[in-house]
């Protein structure tokens, strides 16, 4: 299993343990759609590489969140991945939280 999930009443925290978010890991990431709650946070701390196949998987989570009026965030994103997310305009739909913002979001949704 390359993903672990922590949940509270209104939040889901998804730790991606695979170092690559690519075509091979995309399916597993897409499968967390059913576990998303009001606030869902994707933790990229272990992720070293993301390509367009991985971004497409993340977009499926964005679509699912919007469909249900939920909010999707990212934490522990490298500067390179932030740059790539900006290039494809993903940050409009999946903002990156810093440590304090992340704690506040989880606290609000607990």
């Amino acid at each position: 299993m390359s993903i672990t999930i922590e949940q509270g009443p209104r939040y889901t925290l998804i730790h991606i343990l695979n170092d690559s978010v690519d075509a091979l890991s995309a399916k597993e990431i897409e499968q967390v759609r059913s576990q998303m709650r009001d606030v869902t946070v994707l933790d990229f701390a272990r992720v070293m590489f993301i390509n367009s196949a991985g971004i497409s998987a993340l977009l499926k989570l964005v679509i699912e969140a919007r469909k249900h009026g939920q909010h999707l965030y990212a934490v522990n994103v490298t500067a390179h991945h932030r740059k790539v997310f900006e290039m494809v305009d993903l940050l409009r739909y999946m903002p990156i939280l810093d440590e304090e913002e992340y704690k506040a979001k989880i606290s609000e949704a607990a």
Binding site: S20, S52, S56, H80, K83, V88, Y93
Partner: protein, 169 residues
């Protein structure tokens, strides 16, 4: 034979003639191997971490494009990747065995995520090609009856197009 991965290094040592060839079957599993090869070449050339990450992603996108759109995921068709150092530039050439024109894949502008959200498109078209165009210094695409050849150029004097240092927030 189709599952064979071939890596060759040739040419005289030095900044003007070094060549590394990697040949893989059209299977996503082997794309990771090419990605690792790109990292090794980038480290050998002394790329910054940001420039290395740019190159790794661009190579990944080009190889995936060759596997999916060039060779149509046919594992019997091969993808060749050649790293060539020429003067102060690195060329990464990705060759597939697909047919049909591919030049229209270039310069479509940024794919729209909003279209995907509004219209339920499965995947924004051209996302990988768009990223390549943003990350490399120059790109060239040729097609003939043998297949497609996608060449990405990296200026060795450039340290990342955006000049971003690698760190976690």
């Amino acid at each position: 034979m189709s599952d064979t991965v071939v890596i060759r290094r040739s040419g005289q040592a030095g900044p003007t003639s070094e060549v590394v060839d990697i040949s893989i079957p059209s299977d996503q599993v082997f794309e990771r191997l090419v990605r690792d090869g790109a990292v090794a070449v980038a480290r050998w050339l002394g790329f910054s971490e940001e420039r290395l990450a740019d190159m790794q992603l661009a190579v990944s996108e080009a190889v995936n494009n060759a596997i999916e759109h060039g060779n149509k995921n046919d594992a019997h068709s091969r993808v060749g990747v050649r790293f060539i150092v020429r003067n102060d530039r690195l060329a990464v050439q990705v060759v597939d065995q697909g047919t049909g024109l591919a030049a229209s894949q270039l310069t479509e502008g940024r794919p729209s995520i909003q279209n995907k959200l509004d219209n339920g498109e499965e995947s924004p078209r051209g996302l990988g090609i768009y990223l390549i165009e943003q990350l490399v210094d120059d790109v060239e695409l040729q097609s003939d009856e043998q297949g497609h050849s996608f060449i990405m150029w990296f200026n060795l004097t450039t340290q990342g197009k955006e000049g971003v240092d690698e760190h976690h927030d």
